[in-house]
């Protein structure tokens, strides 16, 4: 196995990781600040992808599609928060899970009703399509490089927002003591809606960005949601930094495991059997990672110490 192939696979793992981070960031903020388990986060990812496909299809502009995805998911998030989620903050986690699971069904059937059962078309903009040659003769997709850059930029933006702005202070304060911060005159209801909409918008953006290289179809959000939960558990619930590190770890483990485990098994098995057992074990890789992290640090890498 050549060095070029290994570097290419590491880039693939990074790209997968930063996209997971966009999903996980919103999920971990919502859980950390409001204590809400939001299973419908995957639906907001789907809303973003469908909005992007519809707008890009109508206008021919991928950028407009991305903006539409961001806005549509933020709006959907804000509406859902104000109409439904708001009533659930005081409820038990099981009630939250039930209610947000119902939201998944409503979003999925609603989307099918609007757009039909067949997958929609959303393609990479022509300016970003095709491969570029990196130093060392590595051919790599320009669009995927762009995804890595966007993911890192969003990560940096979130860090500035949380650590360096007034809203960030309020979010951090709200996480620690919500009575105290509302006593200080911050409108906690508005803050919650804002956080929810922000998380939703990031999920929608991820859906649109990934939708261009995958398929835009009903139910596309749920598999990603499961991975995003693994990410925030590994990173520590409520921690943006944890979500970032966790997402990269999961992305790299999943990609590299899928490539190298079958190779490893080939050393002592025949090809077909090595492929089957190697890929079966690779699909467990991230859960093994989660288990190991939780044994070592029960609250996750950057979680608050209980």
């Amino acid at each position: 196995m050549s060095t070029i192939l290994i570097i290419e696979q590491i880039l693939n793992g990074l790209q997968f990781g930063v996209m997971l981070f966009l999903m996980a960031a919103g999920l971990t903020l919502i859980f950390g600040v409001m204590g809400l388990i939001n299973l419908a986060h995957g639906s907001l990812y789907m809303v973003g992808a469908f909005a992007a496909a519809a707008v890009a299809g109508a206008t021919g502009s991928f950028l407009l599609g991305l903006i539409a995805a961001f806005v549509a998911a933020a709006l959907a998030g804000a509406i859902v928060e104000m109409v439904i989620i708001r009533r659930l903050y005081k409820a038990a986690h099981l009630d939250q899970v039930l209610a947000t699971f119902a939201l998944i069904l409503i979003f999925s059937e609603g989307t099918r009703w609007l757009f039909g059962s067949f997958p929609l078309f959303l393609n990479i903009p022509s300016a970003l399509s095709g491969p570029v040659t990196l130093p060392g003769g590595i051919q790599y997709s320009l669009y995927r490089l762009t995804l890595i850059a966007i993911g890192l930029a969003v990560g940096l933006g979130l860090w500035v927002l949380i650590e360096r702005t007034r809203i960030g202070v309020q979010i951090r304060a709200g996480k620690n003591d919500r009575e105290m911060i509302s006593a200080l005159g911050v409108d906690i209801g508005k803050l919650y809606t804002l956080i929810f909409a922000l998380g939703a918008a990031l999920a929608g953006l991820a859906g649109a960005l990934v939708g261009a290289i995958q398929s835009v179809q009903v139910g596309m959000g749920e598999p990603v949601l499961i991975l995003a939960f693994v990410v925030i558990v590994i990173g520590g619930i409520g921690s943006i930094r944890g979500a970032f590190v966790g997402a990269l770890l999961v992305g790299l483990t999943d990609t590299l495991g899928g490539v190298f485990l079958p190779e490893l098994f080939k050393l002592f098995m025949d090809n077909g059997a090595a492929q089957k057992s190697g890929s079966a074990l690779a699909s467990m890789g991230i859960y093994v990672l989660m288990g190991v992290v939780l044994i070592w640090r029960p609250t996750g890498l950057f979680g608050a110490r209980a």
Partner: protein
């Protein structure tokens, strides 16, 4: 009074039974991922029923949501409370394996419009089970034969790690004579193929064969086109049907895929089917729609000869397959699976619509590898 009521009820019951209505139970996937396939089968089937003009056929349609446990519940309901004579509709092999064996053992006829798992073609075959689509391996075998025909010597092959995926690669290898530059199993439901594409690039293959149904295939083809790897790709029709092609777009153009049906097969039944389907539903039919249409026409042809209550005569009428198929010649092998020609198609663009055209024949009068194991 009580006696009178009972008597009335009994008469009513008798009266309903006397109208010899045929009850067909269709369990198919109408919601969730993969609903497009079920909807196409249903629409093709109902189009044929409508064209027949018969109003004594009652089709009960239920959605299995692609979940085996729901399919089993629905099938129990259909057999025990609806008392259907014939069942059909299932798309996925794992659901078929959960439903079909118990249904046919309760003396219900089952006509499969899609799923063709190998156990039901081999040792688990049954006199009341007919497959109107194909045995699962067929299109893959045809792809292997096509690869020999165009002189590919070094294929890279790929499928998800689940029974139908393993069967797919086995099917391809059964006919393909060259050597393999790589063989990988991906995860079922995987959406990112960057890692696999990098391996294809590094392998030096002269062709890529993949079986990735539904959304998985869309993702792979888009990413493959974007990666700049230009090794030619072959696949079975499942990643190139009419519902999927529009979502893949330009990335699919020129790709060769194998299918037992295409809209340009030249016979009056097929051209009539394509026209009326388009007029009725406002879209081009897919191979799944053609399978639904053929299934209904097979059923109608048998109903013209015998009632399902006369099981032996009805079974013989089904086995005769005396109907006009959209595929042209159609007959059943000894295990009640089709013996048919499988074509190689190429993805083209007609106006704004992506579709397929036949470029050659991959396998003629092809049956399946399991017929010998079937003791009926």
């Amino acid at each position: 009074m009580k006696k009178l009521l009972l008597a009335t009820a009994a008469t009513l019951l008798y009266a309903t039974a006397a109208i010899a209505e045929v009850k067909v139970g269709m369990i198919t996937t109408l919601s969730g991922g993969g609903a497009g396939l079920g909807i196409d089968v249903r629409d093709g089937f109902m189009l044929a029923i409508k064209q027949s003009g018969r109003d004594d056929i009652n089709v009960v349609i239920e959605d299995d949501q692609r979940k085996p446990e729901i399919a089993v519940q629905l099938s129990d309901k259909m057999i025990q409370s609806e008392r259907v004579d014939i069942m059909t509709g299932i798309i996925w092999s794992n659901l078929a394996m959960a439903v079909v064996p118990s249904a046919v053992n309760q003396d219900v006829f089952y006509l499969s419009p899609n799923a063709g798992p190998s156990p039901l073609a081999g040792p688990g075959c049954h006199k009341n089970y007919f497959n109107v689509a194909w045995q699962n391996d067929n299109l893959h075998e045809a792809a292997g034969a096509y690869a020999n025909g165009v002189n590919y010597k070094n294929s890279f092959i790929m499928a998800p790690n689940y029974p139908a995926g393993q069967d797919a690669l086995t099917g391809y290898k059964r006919f393909y004579e060259g050597k393999l530059s790589g063989e990988i199993f991906t995860q079922l439901g995987q959406t990112d193929y960057a890692a696999e594409i990098a391996q294809i690039r590094a392998s030096g293959a002269d062709s890529v064969y993949f079986f990735l149904p539904g959304g998985m295939g869309i993702s792979f083809l888009k990413q493959y086109a974007d990666s700049g790897v230009d090794t030619p790709v072959i696949g079975p029709a499942f990643s190139f049907d009419q519902g999927i092609l529009q979502a893949v777009g330009e990335a699919a153009l020129g790709v060769v895929n194998t299918s037992q049906w295409n809209k340009d097969i030249d016979n009056p039944t097929n051209s009539g089917f394509v026209d009326t389907f388009q007029a009725e539903y406002g879209r081009l039919p897919s191979l799944y729609a053609s399978q639904g249409f053929d299934t209904a026409n097979l059923l109608l042809s048998a109903l013209n000869v015998a009632e399902p209550s006369d099981a032996d005569a009805f079974r013989d009428a089904l086995r005769a397959a005396n109907f006009d198929s959209t595929r042209g010649d159609f007959s059943f092998g000894p295990n009640h699976h089709p013996v048919q020609t499988i074509y190689a198609r190429e993805v083209i663009k007609e106006g704004d619509v992506f579709t397929n055209k036949i470029i050659g024949t991959a396998l003629e009068n092809h049956s399946d590898a399991y017929a010998a194991d079937c003791k009926m």
